[in-house]
């Protein structure tokens, strides 16, 4: 058993504040959910003895046995498709896609069945299942290990799509996703797996369908999610030194979208930008920009900006730093606005 699992306390007991990584928080969330509800089963590729390639399922098979968590054959459509059948039967499967781009073989099952089953059957066949997808880049991964697939899922009615940016939310949101009667695409930013926070577990944060203001400001609203929340916070820190007050919102839920929290912020600051790693064209930021503009046009001093990856396939490890939005790139984009109008 690894250090991570050894550090994890008994499921029933709380842990006092201490440094917790996102991977450990997710591990604990799975463990607590499995201990609490024997309908929760976990499977995917390498989630058993190895504990997942990111060790999110570390120690769980030893604790719960092979009937609760097991390694499946290596086939993502098979993983998701069988989870549909298990959910119909009353289990609550939590499946892992290993890497973002490896979820694409499951695209048909997710889009044609996971998202549509409840509607098709007028609610008789609900699919309480979670599809965990380690997402996005900045880990030096080879091609197909760093995609940002969120727009495929958010463009699909019937799916709930959430992404935590920190260990506390990772725990709380995964517990909520597993408890949900709706299927949830749970996107875990790989570059944040090892970031630590001082935390006592278990923890309950805001409901997963709400955006959260992480840092208050008056001049600009930065809308970020998953891996770019850190980018936004870094940009806000740097801007503060130049007397620019940035409000940072962690969207958390990509579908549904929290119009209320975002609208209130934008109407206060009158300037907004959305940041994501995925390519800009047709990306999730396009929906955010359009939606924020439609609902808050008369409060806006500038068009809603998108600060995103280039419209290119994800680069190789030595080139990804040129592709990903950085705090400097955010500040440069904001500087392009006509601030004299303020």
């Amino acid at each position: 058993m690894s250090a991570l699992a050894e550090a994890a306390p008994a499921a029933e007991a709380g842990t006092g504040p201490g440094p917790v990584t996102m991977a450990a928080a997710l591990n604990r969330a799975l463990r607590d959910a499995m201990a609490e509800d024997d309908r929760v089963v976990v499977y995917g590729e390498d989630v058993g003895p190895l504990g997942g390639v990111f060790r999110v399922t570390d120690g769980l098979q030893a604790e719960f046995g092979e009937e609760r968590i097991w390694d499946s054959p290596l086939a993502e459509s098979g993983i998701v498709g069988t989870a549909v059948g298990m959910a119909i039967y009353g289990l609550r499967p939590v499946v892992e896609m290993q890497f973002d781009a490896f979820s694409y073989p499951a695209f048909e099952q997710i889009v044609s069945h996971v998202a549509k089953m409840r509607n098709r059957t007028k609610g008789r066949l609900q699919l309480p299942m979670v599809i965990r997808i380690p997402c996005a880049g900045a880990i030096g991964g080879v091609e197909h290990h760093s995609d940002s697939s969120e727009a495929y899922w958010t463009a699909t009615p019937g799916l709930t799509v959430v992404t935590p940016s920190n260990p506390a939310d990772a725990y709380s949101m995964l517990r909520e996703a597993i408890a949900s009667d709706d299927p949830v695409v749970f996107m875990e930013p790989k570059s944040r797996y090892w970031a630590k926070a001082e935390l006592a577990l278990p923890v309950t944060t805001a409901p997963m369908d709400r955006a959260l203001v992480l840092r208050e400001g008056t001049d600009v609203t930065l809308l970020a999610y998953g891996p770019t929340v850190k980018t936004a916070l870094d940009a806000a820190d740097a801007a503060a030194a130049e007397d620019l007050s940035i409000e940072v919102i962690d969207l958390r839920s990509l579908s549904p979208f929290d119009d209320e929290t975002v609208g209130a912020s934008v109407r206060k600051t009158s300037r907004a930008a959305v940041i994501h790693e995925a390519a800009q064209f047709g990306g999730y930021g396009a929906e955010v920009a359009a939606r924020v503009t439609e609902r808050n046009f008369h409060w806006l001093a500038e068009p809603v900006l998108r600060i995103a990856g280039y419209d290119i396939p994800y680069p190789s490890p030595k080139l990804e730093s040129f592709h990903l939005p950085t705090a400097d790139r955010v500040l440069h984009a904001l500087a392009g606005w006509d601030w004299d109008l303020a």
């Binding site: 089963v41 009937e67 499946s72 054959p73 086939a75 459509s77 098979g78 498709g81 069988t82 989870a83 549909v84 059948g85 298990m86 959910a87 119909i88 039967y89 009353g90 289990l91 499967p93 073989p105 048909e108 099952q109 044609s112 069945h113 549509k116 089953m117 409840r118 509607n119 098709r120 059957t121 007028k122 609610g123 008789r124 066949l125 609900q126 009615p157 019937g158 709930t160 949900s180 009667d181 709706d182 369908d209 549904p256 979208f257 119009d259």
Partner: protein
């Protein structure tokens, strides 16, 4: 009914000649071609006959109603009654069925009301029956996807120690899909209580079998997955029933999945919008019509003295009554509720949909004000 058939080892390729218990002339088959399976008893065969006759009448009626414009589309199962009814009749009430869009007569045999079966083809909603009450999943349109659902459900039942089986229907075209391979493999690796019934009806819309597979039989594929495979005359309901029943019992007893290929023929077009004259010869259709599954069993039952005039009349009456009920159900306009479009998408209420529902409600109540944009 227990057949107590010893199943072959999973490494044996099935004989190229399809397993059959009744030949096309309606004679009981003996020897190797039976694969060791016994002909079901007369009472069972009479019941299968009744179900096939009623199903045929239903299928013909629905095709007619579709031509009259009462349904948006209908994929006929004419000629495939032995596969569909033989297999479904082998299920127990607590087993699960995973049908495709072509399984209307299988659904009928499962006890589902005609009007509920046809909800999707009339276009009222995507599916119209109570899937839980009938332990029958919604008809699947994307090919082979439902096979994985059957495997997953069976695995869940196994984890729960519930001794049930799940039967998944697939077509010959669907075996080319990746999901078919994944389903066969997952089922074999997990030893799930799954029965795969591949109806090889010779065509995937217009594409013939020769362009779908280079394998000798589809059942050969089972060997590669490590499960028993049966190559069955799909127009012999006795054989389909006997083999499926054995597979279901095997599944329920915890001995894993079985692959069954039923060799049959799609006599009608793919759906009413298809034109089979563009891709197949009428003489081929006639050839298969001479191998009709209902006539075959009828000949046997008559030769056994098991199909008297009284029984025939009773079955015809039941079939006509069902056809009349189907006509009646399809002649009434279905009530659809536009606002229901928003009601079943999520279990968790979503403001975004509530707003859109309100917009549509206002539109339905008062129409849309469309002038004034330029003022």
């Amino acid at each position: 009914m227990s057949l107590n058939v010893e199943l072959p080892p999973t490494r044996t390729l099935p004989p190229e000649k399809p397993l059959r218990l009744l030949d096309n002339a309606g004679h009981a088959v003996t020897g190797r071609d039976t694969g060791g399976f016994a002909l079901p008893d007369l009472a069972t065969l009479v019941e299968l006959y009744r179900r096939m006759v009623i199903a045929r009448r239903f299928d013909v009626q629905v095709t007619a109603l579709t031509r009259q414009g009462r349904l948006a589309t209908y994929p006929s199962a004419l000629g495939q009654e032995a596969c569909e009814i033989g297999a479904v009749s082998a299920l127990d009430a607590d087993d699960w069925l995973f049908p495709t869009y072509r399984e209307s007569v299988a659904l009928l045999t499962r006890g589902i009301d005609p009007a509920e079966i046809l909800v999707s083809f009339r276009g009222d909603w995507h599916n119209g029956y109570d899937q839980r009450a009938h332990r029958t999943a919604a008809q699947a349109t994307p090919l082979a996807t439902q096979a994985l659902h059957a495997v997953g459900l069976g695995h869940a039942a196994r984890l729960r120690r519930d001794p049930i089986a799940a039967l998944a229907f697939l077509g010959d075209g669907a075996t080319s899909e990746g999901d078919a391979h994944e389903a066969f493999n997952f089922a074999a690796v997990w030893q799930t209580p799954t029965v795969f019934l591949v109806q090889n009806n010779q065509y995937a819309i217009s594409v013939p079998l020769s362009r779908q597979t280079h394998a000798r039989t589809f059942a050969d594929k089972a060997v590669g997955y490590g499960m028993p495979g049966y190559h069955v005359d799909g127009n012999d309901v006795a054989a389909v029933y006997a083999v499926t029943r054995a597979a279901v019992e095997r599944a329920r007893a915890g001995h894993g999945p079985t692959f069954i290929e039923g060799v049959t023929y799609r006599v009608e077009s793919h759906t009413n919008s298809d034109d089979p004259t563009r891709y197949r010869q009428q003489r081929e259709v006639e050839h298969w019509k001479r191998r009709d599954p209902i006539e075959r069993l009828e000949k046997y039952l008559v030769s056994e003295g098991a199909l008297g005039d009284g029984l025939r009349e009773e079955i015809t009456e039941a079939a006509e009554a069902l056809a009349a009920r189907t006509r009646e159900a399809m002649s009434a306009e279905a009530e659809v509720s536009p606002l229901e479009l928003f009601d079943h998408v999520y279990a968790t209420p979503r403001r975004q949909l509530a707003e859109q529902r309100e917009r549509l409600a206002a539109e339905l109540a008062g129409g849309l004000e469309t002038s004034g944009a330029a003022r």
